[in-house]
Symmetry: C2
Subunit: 343 residues, 2 copies
Amino acid sequence: MNQKPDNSKCVIAVDAMGGDYAPCNAVLGSVQAFHENQDFQLILVGRKENIISELKENNLDYDTDLIVHTDEVIDMHDHPTEAIKKKKNSSIVVGANLVKENKAHAFVSAGNTGAMTVSSIFGMGRIKGVSRPTLTAPLPNEKNGFTFVADVGAFVDSRPEHLLEFAILSSILLKEIHNIKNPKIGLLNVGEEESKGYKLTLGAGKLLKESNLNFIGNVEGKDIFKGTADLVICDGFIGNIILKFAESIIPFLKSTIKSYADKSIYNKIRAGLVRTPLKESLKNANYETQGGLPLLGVDGISIIGHGSSSPLAIKNMVLRAKDMYDKDLVNKLKEAIISYAEK
Amino acid sequence: MNQKPDNSKCVIAVDAMGGDYAPCNAVLGSVQAFHENQDFQLILVGRKENIISELKENNLDYDTDLIVHTDEVIDMHDHPTEAIKKKKNSSIVVGANLVKENKAHAFVSAGNTGAMTVSSIFGMGRIKGVSRPTLTAPLPNEKNGFTFVADVGAFVDSRPEHLLEFAILSSILLKEIHNIKNPKIGLLNVGEEESKGYKLTLGAGKLLKESNLNFIGNVEGKDIFKGTADLVICDGFIGNIILKFAESIIPFLKSTIKSYADKSIYNKIRAGLVRTPLKESLKNANYETQGGLPLLGVDGISIIGHGSSSPLAIKNMVLRAKDMYDKDLVNKLKEAIISYAEK
């Protein structure tokens, strides 16, 4: 590395090789974020020649000395732990290490979620007292806001104490970043009654009830869109399935409306009238505006985006990272974990 | 019981007290089914005086000697196992026992799902070789058909061999009742790779792979609506959450479209044009037409409906029960389980 990051300023590293449309969307989006909010230093991590040609092609103004060159790329099909061991000079490993080495405050990637999770945990390390970080995702709700779900897949197969950690960490995110003062927390279960569920939910329910969090009890699958709770806690296996199922709703609607339209000219006209109001109604469901999924519990800012992230999605991820830096999120997470351990 | 069911004919017992709109919807729907398809005997189970007044009010033609009177009602908030122990003269317990005693071939209820599951298992008994029955639910998919999900909540906390049973039983349902010749079976997981998941999915994946079923490997949350598999296998905890989440999509859409409409007169007009084509596009998502959720693996026909079942929903549940009787589903399930055990 030949650049000297200005440590009085927020430094955000972006994985230029991450996502299905890399380096194009990653470069376009992050440079756009930089031009909108000049108050941080942007480090692009990836193959220097590819990044430079992308910058030139789009006539983008960016100091190419700030690029951190990496040779290797972890692709979407690589096995996370194997990939980060083998591809030490990949953008995902190098980017997380920049945070570890205090050369950046945040790392943002639309690359392989598993590899990004593992690389952030190993690279940045965990906050003291956290055994399992969580990926926390916003889903739109009927109240024109969001229901956050944690964990959506940082880990599978959790224990009750992990679910408590997800709740502690995510509730700080909701307070500090999403201005939800005293987030209502629900435990995802098959019924409202305390006796419902199995070992994991029974144990987690007990811990949540004993905690000083604003725990409202069990919630069901239908409560996510209803917005019964601000934060829904579940293990990463279920959370990941729910997230991917939720992401498939809009493609499903598009496809069924298309089938309807294909039946007749009359249907085609009527279907044509559906798209805009439906899109506008569902604007909260647009992941591009949501700023990615933060991995909470690592000692740094790590944001993971959808593989198909557009430039807009990347831009919002970078701006979200900046917001987290400005609000000192990582230290607030540390304080929350310490304060909880002291009780 | 004073009636003598004609055992040369299919006998279907219906829980007149089941569901949020009982006895009204249950009585209306089942008598309507009876008038559409005279080829079975209908037994209404519940408070005789309430059923008779409902019949009179709607001027319905039904032989009231066929009513099986019960005093007690298990409501939606009753704890399933406790309720079936305490309320032995409830419609849910008596209805399942009619099947046990060979006085009916099928029992249909829109009442408490848990109580209906437990009552069917204890009352009708399990098919020999089945350790866990499954509730199998159809969800609409992009291919204008259905992706079936099993188990959606007969049990939580399953073992790998239970998931294999869900697959064996449900694939017979798909073949015999839904005319899907060689149903493609996927295992719900967080990724396509065989190594993904945890103990349960790894174990179930191995069993499914070794079986003679048409197992296509792991599928993700997004594959349900895509229709990658005809049948998606998961444990009842996840399946139940997915089902309730899926059922909340239409209310969520209605609510967000309403919020959009409320913003301006212009939006109101545009939103007004959305409803009909959207409803027609999503007609496969209408649970009323789906005929309820069959509980597969018990020694009889048991169909469980949505608490808010309309008369149309009840009618279709009764007709589905008749179809299962006609196609000798229970014996085909028995054969499949025996044939599997012999391998």
